[in-house]
């Protein structure tokens, strides 16, 4: 990797002041599990790394009446072991458990997971986020697109959002705090992820001089939530398709539903037709079946990833079945 300067501030303010206005100036280093790989491949070539590891205020999980506060530096392992997460947010625990490597869970942070770059192999091989070939057209539609998007894939972006935590956090209505020299903004996780329209844009709204400091998840009381992941391998790989659900119940009736698919679009993908199909229904096998079908309505698979349509539908079905059995 290219040589760089290194700084280890102890406050968010110091960290922000060490960043620059372009991604080439400085990058934030959390667990390093994604960033250092990108740097070894010269996909990221920052002149400076600003380590977050010395910043105490970015640590810790705290539950209050307002919900759950997860510091950006909380590791996936800490999240998985947290009793409140296990009990009230099974959809987050499942996402953490899905990253099956203990070493990855010990090093990787929740903030880093949300900010990790897409795994699209064109991107990772240096063709850029929009995977453009010599004549400016995306290589994905006519290339090897088996792991690419089946929704929101009419270009220019075809990759899938990589984070396992995106979908459950969107389903739970979580927000993130972003701090930059001009202050703090709080944003729904749903608005944090974006499908880039140009090669200079990114897959989220972070500015180069901005730090994701914490994640705020609303209280889970009365919210049945679950995540189901379909994976080809049991470890050291990403899911093929996932579904996260959060259901507010009135007795046995679904008062409101959020159903979010993962690894099927450049962003965590709200399956609004499925949400609508389920709302007002009794949560039984027939309603679940109908929602699972509705979830993949309008999918536009590419030449090699039609299989994902069925996987996503099954993921919705199984996530809803799990939520139906939950007691909250």
């Amino acid at each position: 990797m290219q040589a760089f300067e290194y700084a280890r501030p102890s406050t968010v303010q110091e960290a922000v002041s060490l960043l620059g206005n372009s991604w080439e100036d400085a990058n934030l280093l959390a667990g390093g599990t994604d960033l250092l790989s990108l740097m070894k491949d010269y996909i990221h070539t920052p002149k400076r790394l600003v380590s977050l590891k010395g910043i105490k205020e970015l640590e810790g999980i705290r539950k209050s009446a307002g919900g759950l506060r997860i510091g950006a530096l909380v590791t996936l392992e800490e999240l998985l072991r947290n009793p409140d997460v296990r009990k009230e947010y099974p959809s987050l625990a499942a996402a953490a458990r899905g990253v099956a490597s203990p070493q990855m869970r010990n090093m990787g942070t929740v903030g880093g997971d949300l900010c990790q770059r897409p795994r699209c192999w064109y991107f990772r091989l240096g063709f850029g986020l929009l995977a453009k070939g010599p004549n400016g057209e995306s290589l994905v539609p006519s290339g090897d697109n088996r792991y690419h998007a089946i929704f929101n894939n009419r270009g220019p972006a075809y990759f899938v959002s990589a984070s396992s935590f995106g979908p459950p956090l969107v389903a739970l209505g979580a927000t993130v705090n972003l701090v930059s020299p001009s202050g703090t903004r709080e944003l729904p996780v749903e608005k944090f992820f974006v499908a880039p329209a140009t090669e200079n844009a990114r897959e989220n709204v972070l500015a180069p001089n901005e730090i994701l400091t914490e994640i705020l998840v609303p209280p889970a009381a009365g919210v049945r939530n679950a995540t189901y992941e379909v994976r080809q391998k049991m470890a050291l790989d990403y899911p093929l398709a996932t579904a996260s659900v959060a259901l507010r119940m009135r007795g046995n009736t679904v008062a409101s539903a959020r159903i979010v698919l993962g690894h099927v679009a450049p962003v965590p993908w709200r399956a609004q037709a499925a949400e609508k199909a389920l709302t007002g229904k009794t949560l039984n096998a027939a309603a679940i079946e109908e929602a699972a079908k509705a979830a993949v309505q309008g999918a536009t698979p590419l030449s090699m990833n039609g299989y994902k349509v069925q996987l996503a539908s099954v993921a919705v079905k199984r996530a809803l079945e799990e939520a139906a059995q939950a007691r909250t």
Binding site: A3, E5, E14, L18, N21, R48, Q103, M107
Partner: protein, 206 residues
């Protein structure tokens, strides 16, 4: 670096930040555009800087560029060659060492970030012809074929057993989920960890 027009209401400091790096910096940063005013955070590199690592109980002071990973520091600068460099992308486990009691991939941790913590490598598990129960168990259970992934598996297993002294087969399987063996000796590996668990408990009780 592209210059941006200052927006209305932006201070000079903010503007300078807009065209370069922030200024909360002390030392000889290559990128500053303004002398440090407020918080002084030390910036080191890109050239070598002093890095102190505590490996298997012993302190070593090295002069390393910040880009040197813990794995390269161990192998190339300290001659601890047990941890192996295979994928070098946090995707195989051959470089697993224990830092601060936790199994980590040494390939994706900067050496400079591992300072102030206990670093354990596979070399710490034998002295002379005395072996840690895990090593004996690996031999007795045919837990390797070519052996290249072995040091990583042994260290992952050690960290796992410290957290789970009495594991089931399924727990061992999950506990080794961060390591790959291309020879496919997983059955032997899992049995070795179960055997070591029994022996280590026996030792603790005895």
């Amino acid at each position: 670096m592209k210059k941006k027009k200052p927006e209305p209401g932006v201070t000079r400091r903010g503007f300078i930040r807009g065209v370069g790096l922030g200024s909360g910096v002390a030392g000889a940063g290559i990128l500053e555009t303004e002398a440090a005013a407020a918080p002084a955070v030390q910036v080191v590199g890109p050239g070598p800087a002093q890095v102190t690592l505590k490996v298997n109980g012993k302190q070593h002071t090295l002069n390393l560029e910040p880009r040197v990973t813990l794995l390269d520091a161990l192998r190339d600068h300290l001659n601890y060659t047990g941890a192996k460099k295979v994928c070098d992308r946090a995707s195989c486990g051959a470089c697993t060492v224990i830092v601060g009691g936790k199994a980590v991939y040494a390939c994706n941790m900067l050496a400079i970030e591992a300072q102030g913590q206990d670093i354990q490598t596979v070399e710490s598990l034998s002295s002379g012809n005395k072996y840690h129960p895990l090593i004996t168990a690996f031999v007795e259970n045919d837990a390797q074929q070519c052996g290249f992934c072995t040091p990583g598996f042994v260290m992952a297993a050690k960290a796992f057993l410290e957290q789970n002294p009495n594991p089931t087969y399924e727990e061992v399987k999950a506990g080794l989920g961060g390591n790959l063996c291309r020879c496919g000796t997983y059955i032997g590996l899992r049995n070795a960890v179960l055997q070591a668990a029994k022996q280590m408990k026996g030792a603790a009780n005895g």
